[in-house]
């Protein structure tokens, strides 16, 4: 089984509509991969921290999400937690192959080991 790494985050093929993806590991380390220059690594880190804080807040209110979908005018951010606390965030344009196949895109995330 592969480990989570910066290289593993890059999808093998370009998925239409996928703007970028980010991972936040249980130790708060952030990894990211972007298809759009507007999504810099620094931006991803800030976004992932915001999303992780919201996840904590929701858990504190008895709402333990399996998935969060943040919908904006021109895009969506999908946040998927793993039982070990790792979080996968995918940013996609709405009504695209990427936004409609989040489950498939997230499949590998659940099979990866934490980094060594």
């Amino acid at each position: 089984m592969s480990n989570i790494s910066q290289e593993r985050l890059a999808p093998g093929t370009t998925v239409p509509g996928l703007l970028g993806c980010g991972l936040r590991l249980p130790d708060a380390t952030c990894l990211s991969y972007s298809f759009d220059e507007a999504y810099s690594r620094e931006h991803w880190e800030q976004i992932l921290n915001q999303l992780a804080d919201m996840m904590t807040l929701l858990n504190g209110q008895g709402l333990a999400p399996r998935r969060l979908t943040w919908t904006f005018e021109q895009g969506q951010i999908f946040l998927i937690p793993r039982p070990d606390g790792a979080l996968l965030a995918l940013a996609a344009q709405p009504n695209t192959e990427a936004s409609e196949n989040v489950d498939e895109l997230a499949e590998e995330f659940f099979s990866l080991n934490p980094p060594n």
Partner: protein
């Protein structure tokens, strides 16, 4: 040459062998060669028969030893979700009716006391067995109020027509992309018709596919329309109480299977609508209102921060998928909304752990 008529396999379950014999005798004649009638004297015998043979309709009694009809329906609902189910009982109380319908029965009928009664039942069962869901509809909506359905349609930004009727009145509410755009009842249209329909003391409703209305008469936000409808309804109730009339009861979905939404058994569990400053405008079964208001305010701040970082435009909503339910949170300058809806099948993101 005409194709042979489809034969329907119908299983009657009753611990009274005399009743089963009568049914077999009477319905075999009425159903001619189209109804293939099978009988079981207990639920476990019926389950065995269902395993052995594809069945189109199960008609069960309620009061049976060991496993009663309601428990039997509960099992069937899980093991054979597409199977049509009807109940015939000598003890047709409102409590049992509600329980049976909640467990997936499409029909609940009192045991007949005459051959005419048996014939009526035959017609009802025949109607049920030949009924097929309309295109675009799955499942059956039960135990959900009219306001809940409107909320779900608006939050889901779907388009549909809500047909509402009782003995005195018939009307329609048009919802397009989550906006209430038109209502009509009798000679009344617009908001007046909307409030009139939502203030009905009792009745039935069905959700129909959307078609453009003859005119657009409503422009207001759905949250405020519902709040105003609740106020009108309360006033009507107060007037009814003052005059000694029965208090209003919200229309419920018809027992006809045509009323349907995507998820069977979906129910609004929690609703909070508040101003942009966090002042509650409408609260429905919200166990911890201050916490939810704080959540919405926090969400608004984080969403604004994210939309400043990356070019996604303004924030619209956050959808929260939970085990067995889902929630939607919306934040805006003038109002914030939190709604949680149960989805017992947990069909959202089922592929994820």
């Amino acid at each position: 040459m005409n194709a042979p008529a489809k034969q329907y396999q119908i299983l009657f379950v009753d611990d009274d062998p005399d009743f089963l014999a009568m049914i077999q005798d009477f319905f075999a004649t009425l159903g001619e060669k189209i109804w293939q009638i099978h009988c079981a004297t207990s639920a476990d015998q019926a389950l065995e028969r269902l395993k052995a043979r594809k069945t189109d309709l199960v008609v069960t009694d309620v009061n049976m030893p060991m496993l009663d009809g309601i428990q039997f329906l509960h099992i069937l609902n899980r093991s054979h979700p597409d199977l049509k189910k009807a109940v015939i009982t000598a003890n047709a109380t409102e409590e049992k009716r509600s329980a049976c319908l909640a467990e997936g029965a499409e029909l609940f009928i009192e045991k007949p006391r005459s051959p005419e009664g048996l014939k009526s039942i035959f017609i009802m069962l025949e109607e049920l067995i030949t009924w097929t869901p309309q295109e675009g509809f799955q499942g059956v909506l039960r135990r959900v109020g009219l306001q809940d359905v409107i909320q779900m349609e608006c939050l889901g930004r779907t388009s549909s027509i809500l047909e509402i009727h009782n003995l005195q009145l018939r009307g329609r509410i048009y919802i397009e992309d989550g906006r209430i755009i038109h209502a009509q009842t009798g000679g009344t249209t617009g908001e007046a018709a909307f409030y009139k329909l939502l203030a009905l003391p009792s009745g039935e409703f069905q959700l129909q596919p959307f078609e453009p209305p003859p005119e657009r008469t409503i422009e207001g936000q759905w949250e405020f329309l519902l709040m105003e409808a609740a106020r009108v309804r309360d006033e009507t109730a107060a007037e009814a109480a003052a005059t000694g009339a029965a208090p209003p009861r919200e229309p419920t979905p018809t027992d006809e299977p045509a009323a349907a939404v995507p998820e069977c058994g979906t129910r609004v569990e929690e609703t909070l609508i508040c101003s942009g400053a966090g002042d509650p405008l409408y609260v429905g079964q919200c166990p911890d209102r201050p916490a939810r208001v704080a959540l919405l305010q926090d969400l608004a701040q984080r969403a604004a921060f994210i939309s400043q970082l990356i070019p996604l435009g303004n924030f619209d909503r956050l959808e929260i998928q939970l085990a067995g339910s889902r929630a939607v949170a919306q934040t805006g300058a003038d109002r914030m909304v939190f709604v949680r809806v149960s989805s017992p099948k947990g069909n959202l993101s089922t592929r994820l752990p």
